[in-house]
């Protein structure tokens, strides 16, 4: 009964979304407050209905109700509770339901907290949100309904074992919150285009919501990468897999949007560009959903292989993105351009950031979609792998990262590049020292690596020295420094930490890529091997029974210079349902990096192939991402308005007209 109630609530949500799509937009056109006023209760009702629906499905999973096809196909009664719950979104239908639930949550947030928005803007935004909701609800109910019932089955088929993992249990919700969060920027952009104006309240809203989406996206991607690192057993952390790119492109676009929305809020410049970027960012999110869901991509993520669904989503894409871009083409010229600024200024540096990020996003886009397009046209299969991205994306990011510390030093409207560089002298010195030290330590290694390390240090030191300058760390008394540090807005700390986080990630990426060491050894019990200063001794392997799998667990003693460090137990698992093998890598975390051990195939006579990797500083990649996300939250907690004080023109400089 609960299942059917959930199904009914889902259908009712569609009907309410239709109401929310038509009447408030109409009301906004005719300026009828009563019609516009229906948007808020409709948005709240949608959230309630979808929550009922989602909880009903979760209930079916938890109680293992195998009269629901979706539960039967993706769950198993002996699965641990966590994976019963995460199984709800571990499959296509359930994950779509989670998608619209999050969408409804964002819509409800506008209804609840949007009191300070102009009534028509609010009605238009909620109307556009409802358009998206209607499209996806139609898709769910007619093409991938999670509530389809079947004659009761005795036992379920189980969840894909590689998805039975804590990090992956929470990876999709975060990623979706990021994807769907960008729908806010999209709805605001469309609302602005419908009204033909973007006012101050517009930017005031778009930036924090984009930031919230960006935080979720950052965490989601980091979790996915972290999972791939320890679960897939290759010791790699990013593979330029199309599915990874599908989440990375919205991130790049959201990062660009975040910065341009900042310019818009503080200085009312870059309006038209921000609107376009908002449309593009959400379009890329939709694409990400489409790429993963339609089964175009054959990878671990593509749990929906059904061309009919692909066609449905393709239609959604064409209508939403095509419609949005057509509206943009018609209405954008009517939007008023905002304040002007000199090329060398804070705004200018953010424009450079936007250009490089969107170009980088475009290269990823081409690398991801070109093989698919080529295959569908000529049937030829090509694979675009890391070499392409290393040659296109990385060179675009280097200037971005090089100039990143400069931006915060430039004043709004017109800046002083030379002055900014002088203030960064300390950071430059730190980078130079890092370069020399890295080159001296690893003079045999790849010659580019020390430069990469220097780049990472430059970013971190640049971010820290900006803070040092702002609190007058040098030259002011301790009390004064403390007072200034306290008074510095949290948003400033956010900027600093986010940039430092990027630097940390760069350090981790460079070190791991350049200096990873790897050994593949056939080991019999008692055999020893050396890697990266550690000695490992293989003591044997034995079977073990888990809750829903059996595994071979290897026992490896890790010593360093004769003193025992730890014991590692990498494993090979075979799950009961479905019967599928996974590798469970054992990782020893040291301050220099990770020792990563994978148990391979059994050899004749009791030996095993053991793969050992040493990944120097690899953890910095994810620590950097967590720092970035924390910085985003910090900035988000700063509810004050953002105002950028322009530098006034001095004497000779003609002041650009407003």
């Amino acid at each position: 009964m609960i299942v059917e109630l959930g199904h009914f609530a889902l259908v009712l949500a569609l009907a309410i979304a239709l109401v929310q799509m038509v009447l408030p937009l109409w009301g906004a056109q005719t300026r009828d407050v009563r019609l516009m006023g229906m948007a808020e209760p409709a948005a709240l009702s949608q959230l309630t209905l979808l929550l009922i629906s989602f909880l009903a499905l979760t209930h079916a999973y938890v109680t293992s109700d195998f009269s629901v096809e979706n539960v039967w196909a993706n769950s198993h009664s002996l699965k641990p509770l966590l994976y019963k719950i995460s199984g709800v979104w571990g499959n296509h239908e359930g994950s779509m339901l989670l998608w619209v639930l999050i969408l409804a949550a964002f819509g409800a947030a506008v209804a609840l907290f949007g009191g300070n928005l102009p009534a028509r803007l609010r009605a238009n935004v909620l109307g556009v949100q409802a358009v998206i909701a209607v499209a996806f609800l139609l898709f769910i109910i007619f093409a991938s309904n999670p509530f389809t019932r079947i004659p009761p089955q005795p036992e379920g088929r189980g969840l894909n074992p590689i998805l039975q993992d804590p990090a992956l249990a929470f990876h999709p919700p975060f990623l979706y919150a990021g994807y769907v969060g960008l729908s806010m920027a999209f709805s605001f952009a469309i609302a602005a285009l419908i009204e033909g104006r973007t006012d101050a309240a517009w930017a005031r809203w778009v930036r924090p919501w984009t930031l919230a989406a960006w935080v979720c996206l950052t965490l989601g991607i980091a979790m996915g990468s972290w999972w791939a690192y320890y679960e897939l057993g290759w010791g790699g952390w990013w593979f330029w897999d199309p599915v990874e790119n599908a989440s990375f492109m919205p991130w790049l676009a959201a990062t660009a949007l975040l910065h341009s929305a900042l310019v818009m809020e503080k200085r009312e410049a870059l309006k038209v560009w921000t609107v376009l970027l908002a449309i593009l960012a959400f379009s890329l999110s939709l694409m990400g959903t489409f790429l993963v869901r339609s089964g175009v991509l054959t990878s671990v993520h593509a749990f929906a292989v059904d061309p009919r669904r692909g066609l449905f989503i393709l239609m959604i894409l064409v209508l939403l993105i095509g419609g949005a871009l057509a509206l943009y083409a018609r209405r954008a010229p009517q939007l008023k351009q905002g304040g002007l600024f000199a090329p060398i200024s804070r705004e200018g540096s953010l424009v450079l950031n936007n250009i490089l990020l969107t170009t980088g996003c475009a290269t990823v886009f081409i690398g991801t979609l070109y093989p698919l397009a080529l295959e569908s046209i000529t049937g030829a299969k090509i694979s675009v792998g890391p070499p392409y991205f290393n040659l296109t994306f990385v060179p675009l990011m280097v200037p971005l990262l090089l100039t990143m510390p400069l931006g915060p030093y430039l004043a709004w409207k017109r800046g002083d590049l030379l002055g900014a560089m002088q203030r960064l002298a300390a950071a430059g010195l730190a980078a130079l020292v890092a370069l020399v030290v890295a080159a001296a330590l690893y003079w045999r290694g790849p010659w580019l690596a020390p430069f990469g390390i220097a780049l990472g240090v430059w970013i971190v030191a640049g971010a820290l020295s900006e803070w040092a300058m702002r609190v007058k760390l040098m030259g002011a008394g301790a009390a004064e420094v403390l007072r200034r540090a306290r008074n510095l807005p949290r948003s400033a700390y956010g900027t600093m930490l986010a940039h430092a986080g990027i630097g940390l990630s760069v350090l981790g990426i460079v070190a791991t890529t350049a200096w990873q060491s790897e050994r593949v050894i056939a080991m019999r019990p008692g055999d020893r091997a050396d890697i990266a200063g550690y000695e490992i001794t293989f003591r044997g392997a034995a079977p073990r029974r888990g809750p829903n799998y059996s595994e071979q667990v290897g026992l490896i003693a890790l010593t360093r210079g004769g003193t025992p460090v730890t014991e590692l137990s990498p494993a090979k698992r075979i799950y009961d349902a479905p019967r599928q093998a996974t590798t469970e890598a054992a990782i020893h975390v040291g301050w220099r990096g990770d020792l990563y051990v994978v148990l391979g195939d059994e050899q004749q006579g009791g030996g095993y192939v053991v793969r050992v990797y040493f990944n120097p500083l690899v953890r910095l990649i994810w620590i950097g991402a967590v720092v970035m996300a924390f910085a985003g939250l910090l900035s988000l907690s700063d509810r004050r308005l953002r105002v950028g004080a322009p530098r006034r023109a001095r004497g000779a400089l003609p002041a650009p007209a407003e």
Binding site: L12, R31, D199
Partner: protein, 376 residues
């Protein structure tokens, strides 16, 4: 019934909430500019606060204030005349339309997709499947834990191997026997256990490892019946039907009259001799004696066709159900016997793809390929 009451309540509550704003008095839309101006006023306050806290100096604050004031003027200037409020009469038809259409649409869509009469079927409502005794589970877990800590404890492997076998965890059993053999030496008992477990784990196929173990048994204890039987079965599976039949007959002859295996063994021997008859007459193996009886009545062409159909049927089935290892082994064997080497290779490749990651299955496929001279 309760379900329908739930539907009705849910619909009524939602409709009441959504329609509530229509009952409010028709008010003029407030000018859109008021919100904008409020934001600018907040910004001015913010600048003042920043200046007070020393984040902005006086000059910066002045510049910012100037700019915001300019924006305020800009926002206020295009005086937008608010269009007249909606006619009051329009609200009632809208409310009626929504109140009618929402339940209708919901019901229409729900009734085409939902199954309101199908009861739930949660796990707890079902009688629990017979669980293996938890005591035994606990004991096994203890031994396994000990073995994880001391993988070189042959005694433990010796103890747990037959237990695994009883629980039908054949692969684990074979593995445990193999370890015990390596650690504690080769005895007939361990070898026999290993052979049995490996054959069961491989769905009845006598693997290369099992065959070698059988030969070892016969070295230690010549004439041991079960080892001889497995070897004969291996020959049969290799397609050496004549030798297999001879071996079966020899074992039967050596067995005491009341040996329990006489019955099954006799059946086996009969099946093989039927197959031999098929091979000598039609040039291809038929799967069972009854099929053979039917095949005898056919002309050689018809018979060949029938056999080809059977093989193709097997191939078809495996395309759908790729996880049937013994099926694949049979198919590859059949292709070789029919002298369709290319297809045998293709089937082997398909099978390998199906068992990617499953080392034991791959090992068996390799063994078969070597035995049939297919190369790899």
């Amino acid at each position: 019934m309760l379900l329908w009451v739930g539907f009705a309540v849910l619909t009524a509550v939602v409709l009441a909430a959504v329609l509530a704003p229509l009952g409010r008095p028709a008010r003029q839309d407030e000018p859109a500019e008021s919100g904008t101006l409020a934001v600018y006023r907040h910004q001015l306050d913010e600048v003042e606060a920043d200046r007070a806290r020393g984040v902005m100096d006086a000059g910066e604050a002045e510049a910012a204030r100037l700019e915001i004031s300019r924006r305020m003027l800009n926002a206020a200037s295009p005086a937008r005349s608010a269009v007249s409020a909606a006619a009051a009469g329009r609200v009632r038809p809208i409310a009626i339309a929504v109140a009618a259409l929402v339940p209708l649409l919901t019901l229409a869509v729900y009734l085409t997709h939902g199954s309101p009469n199908l009861p739930s079927f949660p796990m707890t409502a079902r009688s629990k499947a017979p669980q293996p005794s938890t005591q035994l589970d606990g004991l096994i877990a203890k031994v396994e834990e000990r073995l994880r800590a001391h993988p070189e404890d042959g005694e433990g492997w010796d103890v747990i191997a037959p237990v695994y076998f009883k629980l039908e965890r054949f692969r684990d059993a074979a593995d445990a026997y193999a370890r015990a053999l390596r650690l504690k030496g080769e005895t007939v008992k361990r070898l026999a256990g290993f052979v049995e477990a490996s054959v069961f784990a491989a769905d009845g196929i006598v693997t290369e490892e099992a065959r070698i173990a059988c030969q070892k048994i016969l070295k230690l204890e010549p004439g041991r019946h079960e080892a001889r039987f497995w070897l004969a079965l291996a020959k049969e599976q290799d397609g050496q039907l004549g030798e297999a039949l001879a071996d079966y007959k020899q074992i039967l002859a050596d067995s005491p009259a009341d040996a329990p295996w006489r019955g099954p063994l006799t059946e086996r021997a009969e099946a093989v001799s039927a197959r031999i008859a098929a091979v000598t007459k039609g040039g291809a193996p038929g799967p069972s004696a009854t099929d053979m009886a039917a095949a005898q009545k056919l002309s050689p062409e018809q018979r060949a066709q029938m056999i080809a159909q059977m093989v193709d049927g097997l191939a078809e089935r495996l395309k759908r159900e790729g996880k049937d290892l013994s099926g694949w082994l049979r198919l590859v064997n059949a292709y070789v016997v029919l002298d369709r080497k290319e297809e045998a290779r293709a089937a082997l490749a398909d099978a390998r793809r199906n068992f990617g990651g499953d080392d034991r299955a791959l090992g068996e496929l390799d063994t078969l390929a070597k035995r049939l001279g297919l190369g790899s």
